[in-house]
């Protein structure tokens, strides 16, 4: 939040002007002290500037870095001004600051003109008659008003609309368990044990990916009639037992190959 907005929302607890920047504050101090912009008493102005920053800090106003940067510049100038004349050299150390202040003061002048103009011009309303002739069906833009920003915004809007109508496909990660391996495993276990409790077997696996691979493998074995599945009642154990066909090594591979392809 800017200082301005914060100041307004809290209501000014004490009389403290809000400045639009460090140069603004500096101009204010010069005016308040009734000194010449060309001959700024740096020591005194520097102290007042720091005093003002301290007040701002007390009010918990967020002090922008620009104010601090100016504070250190003023301190630097102050130290130079305190040196004896002979050490200072020929150039007035304040020269650059004066130039910046003069340039900024011109901006403030023009801004103040625009401020008055803004108030007056807001009293002027566009007079318009909607003609029966031209009722544009869609909003058209003046080519003159189309800038890089509008172009960028339009592009983002188009791409967002595109993405909304084309949701990305679900990402299928390569399974860490191969269905064909599980088919071999389950098939041989059923052949060896004669009867395999599928749910108990699944519950003993902690990795959901392995559970999925086993279920797919079991279904595929049932389809190939290599195993039969039996369940007496709903929600009870599913038993796998040998089916009526003996599966070749190739058949056990087949499903896995097409699945991963």
């Amino acid at each position: 939040m800017t200082m301005l907005a914060e100041h307004e929302s809290l209501g000014p607890p004490v009389e403290l002007e809000v400045f639009s920047g460090p140069l603004d504050l500096l101009l204010h101090l010069i005016r308040k002290n009734e000194v010449s912009i060309y001959d700024i008493p740096i020591v005194s102005i520097c102290d007042q500037y720091h005093e003002h920053l301290r007040e701002m800090q007390e009010l918990d106003l967020d002090i922008a870095g620009d104010f601090l940067w100016m504070a250190s510049w003023l301190l630097h100038l102050k130290s130079k001004m305190l040196l004896p004349q002979s050490v200072k050299g020929e150039e007035d150390p304040r020269e650059e600051l004066v130039e910046r202040l003069l340039a900024y003061r011109r901006v403030k002048q023009l801004a103040s003109y625009l401020h008055d103009s803004d108030i007056v011009r807001r009293c002027v309303w566009p007079a318009e008659v909607t003609s029966a002739v031209e009722q544009p069906t869609e909003v058209e833009l003046d080519w003159e008003d189309v800038d890089l920003r509008l172009l960028a915004q339009t592009y983002l809007d188009v791409m967002q609309r595109f993405e909304a109508s084309h949701p990305p496909p679900l990402e299928v990660l390569p399974l860490r368990y191969k269905v064909e391996e599980k088919m071999k495993e389950v098939y041989h276990r059923v052949r060896t044990d004669g009867l395999v409790p599928l749910l108990r077997h699944l519950n003993s696996r902690s990795d959901p990916e392995e559970v999925v691979a086993v279920i797919v493998a079991a279904l595929e074995l049932v389809r190939l009639r290599g195993v039969f599945a039996e369940q007496r009642e709903a929600f009870t154990e599913i038993y796998l037992r040998p089916g009526d066909r003996e599966l070749s090594a190739r058949e056990l591979l087949h499903r896995g190959a097409s699945d991963s392809g």
Partner: protein
């Protein structure tokens, strides 16, 4: 309020209303002891008369919802001509979208533009070619060999760019910053 100010006020309201204005809304807005409904009706009648001249481009029309400003029907041809000229300086939303797609993804084909926009953009592309904002840049080496489109020199000039690569990253361009508090009451 004197009669002259009253007349000017009624005219100004009619001309900024953007639709029919009722006598009661006028009475309420003017809120003046001199502005009773009878007087307002009177003023409206005099406005209607003063506009109804051969050298005036304005008419006052009484419609169901109240009083409304219109232009005389005999000037429709002229207005159509003016708005046609202005339209040439304008860009439709569709055209801006195609321009944005080509600018950021060039070179690009019509099927690609259509796919992204989800609608056929052939006529829009043609208009942009005619306006010299797009240019042909060869054919893509895929089935059907569709034309490739790029933005033109004029496009760059309009946006003050030297080369197409100078087009800023759109995300960066539009990125939101902290509220600035430029506006105050």
């Amino acid at each position: 309020m004197d009669r002259e100010t009253l007349t000017a006020g009624v005219e100004a309201i009619l001309l900024t209303a953007g639709g029919p204005v009722t006598v009661s809304a006028l009475v309420e807005a003017i809120d003046d002891s001199d502005a009773d409904p009878g007087t307002i009706e009177d003023v409206l009648a005099s406005v209607a008369t003063s506009w109804d001249r051969p050298d005036s481009g304005l008419r006052l029309e009484h419609v169901a919802g109240g009083w409304r400003c219109i232009t005389p029907a005999e000037l429709d041809g002229l207005l159509r001509s003016y708005h046609g000229i202005v339209a040439r300086q304008r860009l439709s939303q569709a055209a801006l979208e195609v321009l944005a797609i080509v600018a950021h993804r060039q070179p690009v084909t019509l099927p690609e533009i259509n796919f992204i926009r989800g609608t056929n953009s052939a006529s829009v592309v043609r208009t942009l070619l005619e306006r010299k904002l797009l240019r042909l840049a060869g054919r893509k080496k895929v089935v059907g060999k569709p034309f490739l489109y790029r933005t033109s020199k004029e496009f760059l000039v309009h946006f003050g760019l030297d080369r197409p690569e100078d087009l800023p990253d759109p995300e960066e361009m539009v990125k939101d910053e902290t509220s600035s508090g430029v506006l105050s009451e």
